[in-house]
């Protein structure tokens, strides 16, 4: 009964925690500029992230190892140091963007400039990290994140044609702005397959003491949770396509994105959009900061864990605090959070091959995974994903310059 409860909770919180600043911005831009044509990119990215998340959870449940720790052990510090630095840089930028996103949500409600909200948002994130255990951080924020289902409700109220939605699930050659289309497709993948998500999920699996016998819980949570979570991202795209595209409104800021809620929700539009954006960003900010602490502690062999008293894992606690402080300082400089998000997503795509490649070795290591190593399908998926991610990494900078 407890396993079923954990499973349902895991799925629900995966849905609530799926949408954050990256997925909202890329899906809204994609819908506003290409209507339903990029729905396939969300679907493809969801399959990628669900497979990788399941593997991360399996590695943690069977081998008691997180992705960051296992990479240090199997590949050594010389292999890991550059991807590690890039991931930490990415975590800081993405964290600054999430804090900025939450601050803009408060601006939408209050009218006070978003820079004034950066410090309060940063303080709330730190207080949550300092005072709450893993279950509260993961489940509490995930449950609050169900407010992002407003995007699905909005899309449903707008009554899109099912045939057009179905057509959007198949990749097509766009009839305009091909470079921009490719840029947004790659950005959607960068927004969905976030490096922090994989190590965070593996760390959570160890925090929640999931065992080899509960691999079915891990598998179901990964595929069903991520699958339903992607419906929220698709809701953002569909709503933007139905509301913004006909009026030729491009999403250059979150304030413009909020307009998509006006036809389905009327006077509740701004409040609901702000709640969805704010909670989504706040949840992601907590996860990113926590994951930066996890990653550093696991790479260097420090004591770690959100379920431990903070003073008993002092280096871990100081690590997430410092990362948060740096991100708040960057956010205070007043960079446009949307622009910061798009730069972070390009960086995500650049480091994706270094993230995916180790999975091929780790998921076939019997010392970690015993009889649960990857089968043929898993290995073919990883090989294809490695090639694709290398290709994405090569094209993302030119695409950012010419289509971003």
């Amino acid at each position: 009964m407890s396993a079923i409860f954990d499973l349902v909770l895991g799925i629900v919180t995966s849905i609530g925690g799926f949408v954050e600043v990256g997925s909202i911005s890329t899906a809204a831009q994609a819908g506003a500029e290409f209507e339903f044509e990029l729905l396939w990119a969300i679907a493809a990215a969801t399959v990628m992230v669900a497979m990788l998340v399941e593997m991360s959870g399996r590695l943690a449940a069977v081998g008691r190892r997180t992705v960051a720790g296992a990479i240090r052990e199997r590949f050594g510090i010389h292999f890991q140091i550059l991807p590690l630095c890039a991931e930490l840089l990415l975590d800081v930028l993405l964290l600054a963007a999430e804090i900025g996103g939450a601050a803009i949500a408060l601006t939408l409600i209050s009218g006070v400039g978003f820079v004034w909200w950066i410090l309060p948002v940063g303080a709330v994130v730190w207080i949550l990290l300092w005072t709450c255990g893993f279950a509260v951080l993961e489940d509490g924020i995930g449950l609050l994140g169900l407010v992002t289902l407003a995007f699905v409700v909005a899309a449903w109220r707008l009554e899109p044609a099912p045939a057009a939605l179905g057509a959007g699930l198949l990749p097509t050659v766009p009839d305009h702005d091909g470079v921009r289309y490719a840029f947004l497709a790659v950005s959607i993948i960068g927004a969905t397959v976030s490096p922090y998500l994989l190590n965070f999920y593996a760390s959570g699996t160890i925090e929640e003491k999931l065992t080899e016998k509960e691999l079915w819980v891990n598998r179901t949570t990964a595929f069903v949770g991520m699958g339903f979570g992607s419906v929220v991202s698709m809701g953002v795209l569909v709503t933007a396509a139905m509301v913004l595209a006909p009026k030729h409104i491009h999403v250059d800021s979150y304030e413009q994105a909020a307009l998509m809620f006006v036809p389905p929700f009327g006077r509740w539009a701004v409040g609901l959009f702000a709640a969805a954006l704010g909670v989504g960003c706040l949840g992601a900010a907590v996860e990113i900061a926590l994951n930066a602490g996890y990653t550093l502690a696991q790479v260097f062999g420090w004591t770690w864990g959100a379920n431990r008293p903070r003073r008993d894992a002092a280096r871990f606690s100081v690590a997430f605090t410092l990362i948060l402080l740096i991100a708040v300082a960057i956010a205070l400089l007043g960079f446009d959070p949307l622009r910061l998000t798009m730069i972070s997503l390009a960086l995500t795509v650049i480091i994706l091959p270094a993230l995916v490649l180790p999975f091929i070795v780790l998921m076939n290591d019997e010392q970690y995974l015993k009889q649960h190593t990857s089968g043929v399908a898993g290995n073919v998926f990883l090989a294809v994903l490695t090639v694709l991610s290398a290709l994405f990494a090569l094209v993302v900078v030119p695409l950012e310059i010419f289509g971003g």
Binding site: I77, T131, F300, G301, T303, R310, R311, A314, R315, V318
Partner: protein, 118 residues
């Protein structure tokens, strides 16, 4: 045993099951006319820094010096004190005896001054 694959970078656990860090270096002794022998393991950020690049090692040493920590602070575990080499390296030592927890202990004392906290 493959020292690089099976020992280097593995987590080190003390006799009470507490994390001591990771194997940041392996100390070998060269002898005339004989193969080198393993003297022990080293744990410490400066060791890791030197392994990456001498400059990185010197930067870490400088940070440790400025922070009031002993220079070239490294914890050395004698080979004879290695109890088991598996997924973790279990050693017959305690974190408090070796000085591996010096930074952790210092930060704990500092964090005690902060209110709240789980």
């Amino acid at each position: 045993m493959d020292l690089v694959r099976d020992v280097l970078d593995k987590p080190v656990v003390d006799r009470h099951g507490r994390e001591m860090g990771r194997v940041d270096g392996i100390v070998l002794e060269r002898r005339e006319g004989a193969p080198p022998t393993v003297v022990g393991l080293e744990i410490g950020p400066a060791v890791l820094g030197h392994r990456l690049h001498p400059l990185a090692g010197r930067v870490v040493e400088s940070i440790e010096y400025v922070s009031g920590l002993p220079r070239r602070r490294a914890v050395r575990i004698a080979f004879a004190d290695i109890v088991q080499i598996d997924v973790d390296i279990k050693v017959n030592a305690a974190i408090a005896e070796t000085g591996a927890g010096i930074v952790e202990q210092g930060l704990r004392a500092w964090l005690r001054g902060l209110p709240g906290g789980r």
